[in-house]
Amino acid sequence: MHIMEGYLPIQWCIFWYVLSGIVWVYAIIQLKKILSEKPEVKPLLAISGAYMFILSSLKMPSVTGSCSHPCGNGLGAVLFGPAVTAVLASIVLLFQALLLAHGGITTLGANTFSMGVVGPFFGYLTYKALKGKINSTYAVGLAAVISDWMTYVTTSIQLTLAFPGDNPLHTFLAFATVFAVTQVPLAIAEGLLTMVIWDKLKELRPDLLLKLGVIDESEVPNVSVVTEGGE
């Protein structure tokens, strides 16, 4: 999903920087609010960012005979919503742009928008839609699949907008074959891995998940949460 350094015309770099910039500002306000109201969830924030660090460093083989990497953005999206995930994603993307020449400084806005905003947004919606209807672990798994996959669909759209060619639909299919098709098994793998870490978090700190309002009390009946003025 990394658009390489210099591979987006400058007007598109600015365009995506502006959109991501709006999300960054909103996210900082949200982050301040979360950390002042519920400082005890800080470890979950660190885990969400760390999870993204690990998953986006793993380049996995796919059925198209090429390699790509999962994003790890579904976990943060479910726990903290898409805006906060955008901040976490941009930290990972900056690390990779500066140290690995993956992605770039000029394309950081665009890459943040796909991995930090659109992907997590769809993952978040998926989780919202399924929450309470099925076990949260499966809902998180599906949200992570969608988050990951929509990230790559977004990259394909971004590249098509910048390089429409003679037939934009044809161009989109060419980019989507490279990104979105390769990503199918990796997105499934990411969904499965996210289920495992979610189960661990649910087992060890159900109180924090309740506090963030991401699981219902019926799912962890033996946990009594003392919420002081919270939900």
Partner: protein
């Protein structure tokens, strides 16, 4: 780690092994393939900016990728251990 999680991790491993066994490919990066598509669509296009720094070799690159994964793994391991120790108190 219970049976369910072991099965899940085995499925993930199978998903990774399957292409390697049954699909012949170069297993290059998708990002580079996208670069090729751009060159096909717009041969006139030249990147207007280049990475400030690039890992000098594949070895250095894999060193930094391992570092990236390690940073993430330390943080997750630290907190999972912290949570578990706290829970057993």
């Amino acid at each position: 780690m219970n049976t369910k999680h072991i099965v899940i991790l085995l499925i993930v491993a199978a998903l990774m092994v399957f292409p390697l066994l049954f699909v012949k490919g170069e297993y290059g990066g998708a990002d580079d393939q996208a670069e090729e598509v751009i060159k096909e669509i717009d041969p006139q296009y030249h990147p207007w900016f280049h990475p400030i720094w690039e890992p000098p070799s594949g070895e250095i690159e894999s060193l930094l990728f391992a570092l990236q994964a390690a940073i993430g793994a330390i943080i997750i391991g630290y907190y999972i251990g912290y949570f578990r120790a706290k829970a057993s108190q």
